[in-house]
């Protein structure tokens, strides 16, 4: 089971079962909707930013374990980060998942997010892991439109 344990680590299974911050944020100043047409995974993100810092971030949606856990862990990691830090984190996370930037992501210390490192060996699942992140970026960049992983 080594490979599988690598993908579906305990933390991922736990965040899938009880996702953190899965609720709507009534007065969000940034929102966006993300959709992965291949899987039907669907996510809405809600963000409040104050003085350039992510004060609150939540999500709603349905999807596979990888996309749900990724959204859940993302909300925990983003909270309290400056917008610049958030961008860097996204870049490193993306690099790790796609296997394009392994070294720097390891050095960077992605913390809990490293549980997703196994995803890069499952190309069919990369989009699941990055959907919530793409959606957050869209929310912060444009203040609210729909993105797809295509």
């Amino acid at each position: 089971m080594s490979d599988l344990d690598d993908l579906y680590q305990e933390i991922i299974l736990d965040h899938n079962k009880s996702p953190r911050n899965r609720r709507k944020l009534e007065q969000a100043d940034h929102t966006a909707e993300g959709y992965n047409p291949l899987c039907g995974d669907h996510v809405n993100v809600f963000i409040n930013v104050e003085n350039g810092v992510v004060k609150e971030v939540t999500f709603e949606g349905s999807g596979c374990a990888i996309s749900t856990a990724s959204a859940s862990l993302m909300t925990e990691e983003l909270k309290g980060k400056t917008l610049d830090e958030a961008k860097v984190l996204f870049k490193r996370f993306h690099g790790m998942i796609t296997g394009e930037d392994r070294e720097s992501s390891e050095e960077a210390g992605l913390g809990k997010l490293e549980v997703f490192s196994g995803v890069c060996r499952y190309p069919a699942r990369v989009k699941c892991a990055t959907l919530a992140w793409h959606t957050v970026r869209a929310a912060l960049d444009s203040g609210g439109e729909s993105v797809t992983t295509e």
Partner: protein, 424 residues
């Protein structure tokens, strides 16, 4: 060259499992010898595409190695050989479908192109503002979107026959939808997402009684059962070569001669013409009129080889063997309490769609593949309206061909139990 009508063997005595010698058959499919993630490949995604027997692979390479030339164009030896092989394969398709005339067999790229062809030629010429096209809830997107586009172009209306919770076509509702405005009915013979076998013969009769033409999407029927377009009396029948153990890139549109003959051309260019001048072009006879440009010659010949292959086994034997597989799979999965079947029609082909409580189909698919070497489809199966009908985002689908075994189904059931444990 002539071909004789295929000889179907009598259904054998004995159990369904003995209807064919599955181990001998597996030896004909080189890809089935491989391992995936260290496990022997268990290929259960036959609805997406089927594997190819050595005979089909050989037909492709023999063509390129010994007979490659363009068809209908040269007087030289190779061109004559290529044309003969290409046209002989068409005769095999005619016999395979039970069509009366070879002119009724049009080579296309696949089911999708066949349906688009009918929509944009027959449809644009015959369906007008206020007319109606009838499809069903269980159609593949390729039997929805071409009609949607046609209806938009012509100001016609698309009507959809509902299904029941078992995934069966509701005939009574269908009858209510039919009327003087119905110009065309387009229904799948077998549902790719659930395996439901539709009562197409009755559907066709009923449509004809109100003057509508009928297109049957046969993509998932021809690999599983004997199809006879004359007995069905359909106006059009479409299927894809790659889903019936042939190559990708070729498919077939069958159309009744008189219906096809009255249709305007689809694509235009070489081969579909008789004479061209800058003032006027006259079109070629059937079926060339609908085959503009250089076709997929090798794939068409490969399709002929695939038809020979399944015909030699016998579609009655295949149907019988697969009935056993379907029953066995349904039993094995139903014993797992967390499994819910999507599509429990009384009449089904060997396609089993299901969801596992609390586990997304993609996670099931990944675990089946990476831990057990089992290839299934996890997704919406190009049937999003159907997923909506069952209120699921996606399903896991195991679709079996005659080379699948009961041991493989045992492995599938074991793997699903493991999924339940991991996510438990």
């Amino acid at each position: 060259m002539t071909t004789t009508a295929p000889q179907y063997s009598e259904p054998p005595v004995g159990t369904d499992a003995e209807a064919i010698d599955v181990h001998a058959i597996r030896a004909d499919f080189p890809i089935l010898r491989q391992t995936v993630n260290g496990k022997p490949l268990i290929y259960m995604d036959n609805t997406a595409t089927t594997q190819k027997p050595q005979a089909v692979i050989d037909a492709l390479s023999d063509f390129y190695a010994t007979r490659n030339a363009n068809v209908h164009r040269g007087v030289h030896h190779l061109s004559v050989q290529a044309t003969q092989a290409y046209e002989q394969a068409r005769l095999k398709v005619r016999d395979f479908l039970g069509a009366s005339r070879v002119e009724e067999i049009v080579y296309v790229r696949g089911t999708t192109e066949a349906i688009n062809l009918v929509a944009q030629t027959y449809g644009r010429a015959n369906i007008h503002a206020g007319d109606e096209v009838v499809i069903s809830t269980m159609e593949h997107h390729s039997n929805i979107v071409p009609w949607q586009i046609l209806c938009q172009q012509q100001g016609a209306t698309l009507r959809v026959v509902p299904i029941n919770d078992a995934g069966e076509f509701l005939f009574d509702e269908y009858e209510k939808l039919l009327g003087p405005r119905t110009k065309l009915v387009a229904v799948t013979h077998v549902s790719n997402a659930m395996g439901t076998v539709n009562p197409v013969e009755r559907i066709i009769q009923r449509a004809h009684a109100c003057g509508a033409r009928v297109l049957i999407d046969g993509a998932q029927a021809v690999p599983h059962m004997k199809v006879d377009v004359r007995a069905l009396d359909c106006d059009f029948y479409a299927f894809s070569g790659h889903k019936v153990f042939g190559p990708t890139g070729v498919g077939v549109l069958y159309g009744k001669f008189d219906v096809l003959d009255a249709m305007p051309p689809y694509q235009s260019g070489g081969d579909m013409i008789q004479t061209v001048s800058f003032e006027k072009t006259t079109y070629n006879d059937l079926p060339a009129r609908f085959e503009a440009g250089t076709p997929n010659i090798a794939a068409s010949i490969g399709l002929g080889a695939a038809i020979d292959y399944v015909t030699a086994i016998g579609l009655d034997r295949i149907a019988r063997y697969e009935r056993g597989l379907l029953h066995y799979t349904t039993e094995a999965l139903s014993r797992i309490p967390e499994v819910r079947m999507i599509g429990t029609a009384a009449d089904k082909a060997s396609v089993v769609s299901f969801v596992v409580d609390g586990v997304h189909p993609h996670d099931v698919g990944t675990i089946l593949d990476s831990e057990f070497g089992i290839a299934v489809r996890a997704g919406h199966h190009c049937a999003m309206p159907l997923m909506k009908r069952f209120n699921v985002p996606a399903t896991v689908r195991a679709s079996m061909a005659f080379y699948n075994t009961r041991e493989e189904i045992d492995a599938l059931a074991g793997a699903v139990k493991r999924v339940v444990e991991v996510f438990g």
